[in-house]
């Protein structure tokens, strides 16, 4: 653990933590789907980051470190307050991932051209309809560009589980988009 001077703390906060505020806010909003809660979560995360700044090593991955704090705050405090149950059946995920189901691709078919015609609201609704644990992996990987290894550290789960959860999340998202495409008359 490092021990920073007061001046160093503020310097790290300004130069390494604050530049990620937009990504953090978007992450908070996407997992809470509530602007006020996202703001509270963001403030709480930055407050904790400053309070525990000695456990951050200057020059390392500040974005991943901050995302980890935000995710933990959400799981441990914000989600409890709202009593949102976890919707993910992890056993199902693991079983699914280890299967050799060759029909999976065929039943999940969705034309690429159909996807390109979709509008932002529908994509957003489909993403928000996913259970939060699935939503989180998609946001971290596809929107924020974290590697599997970084996601593993942020989420405190093995890389294999990151990948299986991501795979399942994308399949669920594809199914939701497919349902939407059908409702719009696409075949």
């Amino acid at each position: 653990m490092s021990s920073y001077s007061e001046e160093q703390r503020y310097k790290i906060f300004e130069s390494e933590f604050l530049p990620h505020i937009e990504a953090m806010y978007n992450f908070a909003f996407r997992i809470t789907y509530d602007e006020d809660m996202a703001k509270d979560l963001l403030q709480d995360t930055y407050y904790k980051a400053f309070k525990f700044i000695d456990s951050f090593h200057e020059g390392t991955n500040a974005k991943a470190w901050l995302f980890r704090i935000l995710k933990n705050s959400f799981i441990n405090e914000f989600r409890k307050k709202n009593k949102e149950p976890s919707m993910v059946d992890y056993q199902e995920v693991e079983t699914y991932y280890n299967s050799d189901d060759v029909n999976e691709v065929i039943t999940s078919d969705l034309r690429v051209e159909v996807l390109q015609d979709m509008i932002g609201d529908e994509v957003s609704n489909a993403l928000n309809a996913l259970a939060v644990d699935f939503r989180i992996v998609i946001i971290l990987c596809d929107l924020e560009g974290f590697t599997y290894e970084e996601m593993s550290k942020i989420l405190d789960i093995p890389i294999g589980t990151v990948r299986s959860r991501l795979h399942r999340a994308r399949n669920l998202l594809r199914e939701k988009l497919k349902t939407y495409a059908k409702s719009m008359g696409f075949k």
Partner: protein, 100 residues
């Protein structure tokens, strides 16, 4: 006999274990495709993908890869990034100043 855990097992569109056309050992190939989609494949894995799956026009794995890429692209291009509320940085700074 080929080792199922090595990447040279990636023959594409072979007859699967149920005697139907399709991709055998799909989970290994799915692993590779996921890494390709997410830009996390090694040079060796990229080479294997380019030499086998990308050249297979009727391959389900290839179709799957195209769909996944399209969905990833959809997320990146159609979802708006929200702007950070103007007052939030000041509120954060005020709260941390109270701790010092």
């Amino acid at each position: 006999m080929k080792n199922k855990n090595t990447l040279d097992y990636l023959d594409c569109c072979i007859i699967n274990k149920y005697g139907e056309p399709g991709c055998d050992n799909y989970s290994i190939r799915r692993n590779l495709i996921q890494k390709i989609i997410d830009g996390q494949a090694s040079e060796e894995e990229k080479k294997l993908y380019n030499e086998v799956i990308s050249k297979c026009n009727n391959c389900n794995c290839r179709k799957y890869c195209e769909q996944e890429l399209a969905i990833k692209n959809l997320l990146q291009t159609k979802l708006d990034r929200k702007r950070v509320p103007l007052d939030i940085v000041e509120k954060i700074k005020t709260s941390i100043n109270k701790t010092t």
